[in-house]
Amino acid sequence: MSAKHADTIVMPTRKSPVPALTFAALILVLAILPAFFYPIFVMKLLCFVLFAAAFNLLLGYTGLLSFGHAAFFGGAAYVTAHALKVWQVTPEFAILAGVAAAIVLGLIIGAVAIRRQGIYFAMITLAMAQMFYFFCLQAPFTNGEDGIQGFSRGHLFGIIDLNETMNLYYFIAAVTVLSLVLIWRIVNSPFGQILRAIRENEPRTISLGYSVQRFKLAAFVMSAGLTGLAGALKALLFQFATLADVAWQMSGEVILMTLIGGIGTLAGPVVGAGILIGMQNFLATSGLPVTMVLGGTFMVCVLLFRRGVVGEILNLLERRRG
């Protein structure tokens, strides 16, 4: 038993330079990326990066696997598209409307789903999202298979013309980076600490006096809202919202992104989204059967690289250090 006095051992949490550096690097990369890549492609990537990061907030840090995130993504996309096309509001309001819709959906689906854990949770979210899919299929405002198409992106705050590719690019890049910072902050906050505790040992967290259900719901809704933001940006970018974004396959894809990148890591979703979107693009003209390749990738990841790319690298580094 130690006889040392507590004072001598108190160590303040060191402010790690890594996240700040990561974000700086990200901003730098985003500044020069359009010079090398197709801006539209980069923007699409950013939308999915945000999607995956929002999803990871839930899976990676709260331990809840949602199989229904497409509902928030696609739902927000529909609302944003509808707002732009029919209500003809400015883009920032359209996006806000989309996010609000995702939050409401998140509250509804979350309230039911958090009553169970683990796979039950996964299957309930899947089923609820599927319900939403059928709603979108049948609701007249979504135009069925055609989707909501052909609207102008409008002017941000009434001033900046988002139909200009580079304006749009900087807008989307800024929103994405800010959201990633926000997610990082949530995860590394006192609140995030409680989420971790819940993931580790739920009964114990309850016995410490935390209303676990509320924390879970809060995390779920945050994740849903940020996912909605990603969906709204995507609708703005492509100027359409279709059923593909609410289909359960989309929920599967975001899981795959997070898994490939590394569950519960900061950079994982970025890398994972990059790989998956890049792969889809490559496969589109490769002549290979896409679903087979995706399915195979999924299996290989689960069997061999459960930590994901970033996770495996981190693990290697940690081992090196001993």
């Binding site: 796979i119 899947l126 609820m128 319900m131 299996m299 069997l303």
Partner: protein, 295 residues
């Protein structure tokens, strides 16, 4: 011939019966899922793919080997079981100790791979498969014309379901399996060959999907996508019944088939989502499902 007889309760009773037939498929599939989940703690997302595989196996047996429906009814599930067992032995096994989510994700990938593969080699429009000679036509059962084949489906599925239930609940095998899911090393240390048992169980669960596939082949299109549409509903059925509850899966399967059938008469717009609505309600009132033991 094809009008509905008996004017008083015709449509309704007819629908009830038809719901029961649908329920047969739900029951068979959710039973397989429940067996695999209850005993291996794997959410078999590939279950729909195995169902499809069963139908395709029947079709291939007919077209490449000249083996008809009755032969296929035994051989096709066997083939599916073997495929399942190979997958379990070589891959799935590695995931037992891990979080259940990995099993779900792995089988999700497997489903994509299988369906993608069949789509690639057999196209998407599907293959025709005829009901056996003996079961064609329809019988007048008083209030409706019941296609013979559908009658057969109900009977066959009932037999299979009850048989499975009896095996699992009434024999030692069930106890071994349930124990093995909790602590397989210990059960092994007691002298039970758990790896073999798990392989066989997964094979058996897949075979149940295979049986459903063969039964479905003459009713629906034999197509690579036939399972992926069904699987999510079946998931909901299993959640409603209470995951892992064998009896729950069976009863809920039939029940939901009937509910869905009735919904098609009274409010067809909602027929697609009625199962999910019921699921949400059940979860709000009884989080463990209708037959689930609270965990």
């Amino acid at each position: 011939m094809t009008t509905i007889f008996g004017v008083a309760l015709p449509v309704l009773t007819g629908q009830l019966l038809i719901g029961l037939i649908n329920g047969s498929f739900y029951a068979l599939l959710s039973l397989g899922l429940a067996v695999i989940f209850g005993l291996l703690r794997i959410v078999n997302f590939a279950h729909g793919a195995f169902y499809m595989l069963g139908a395709f196996a029947a079709w291939m047996l007919l077209n490449f080997a000249g083996i008809g429906y009755w032969g296929a009814l035994f051989l096709a599930p066997l083939i599916v079981a073997v495929v399942g067992m190979v997958i379990e032995r070589t891959m799935l096994r590695a995931l037992y100790g891990l979080d259940h989510l990995y099993g779900l994700l792995f089988t999700f990938g497997l489903a994509l791979l299988l369906e993608g593969g069949f789509r690639h080699y057999f196209g998407t429009s599907g293959q025709p498969f005829a009901a056996p000679e003996a079961l064609r036509g329809a019988t007048n059962i008083g209030f409706m014309m019941l296609p013979n084949y559908r009658g057969w489906v109900v009977v066959a599925s009932l037999v299979v379901c009850l048989g499975t239930w009896a095996i699992i609940e009434k024999t030692k095998i069930g106890a071994y399996l349930r124990a093995a899911t909790e602590n397989s090393t210990l059960v092994q240390a007691f002298g039970v060959n758990v790896p073999l048992l798990l392989t066989l169980t997964y094979g058996f669960g897949c075979a149940l999907a295979g049986v459903a596939g063969v039964l479905a082949a003459p009713l629906f299109q034999v197509s690579p996508l036939m399972g992926s549409n069904l699987i999510i509903i079946v998931f909901a059925v299993v959640v409603i019944g209470g995951m892992g509850s064998i009896l729950g899966a069976i009863v809920t399967g039939y029940m939901l088939g009937i509910v869905e059938g009735l919904c098609k008469v009274f409010y067809p717009e909602a027929a697609n989502i009625v199962v999910f609505v019921i699921m949400a309600i059940v979860l709000l009132l009884r989080p463990a499902g209708l037959f689930g033991k609270d965990s």
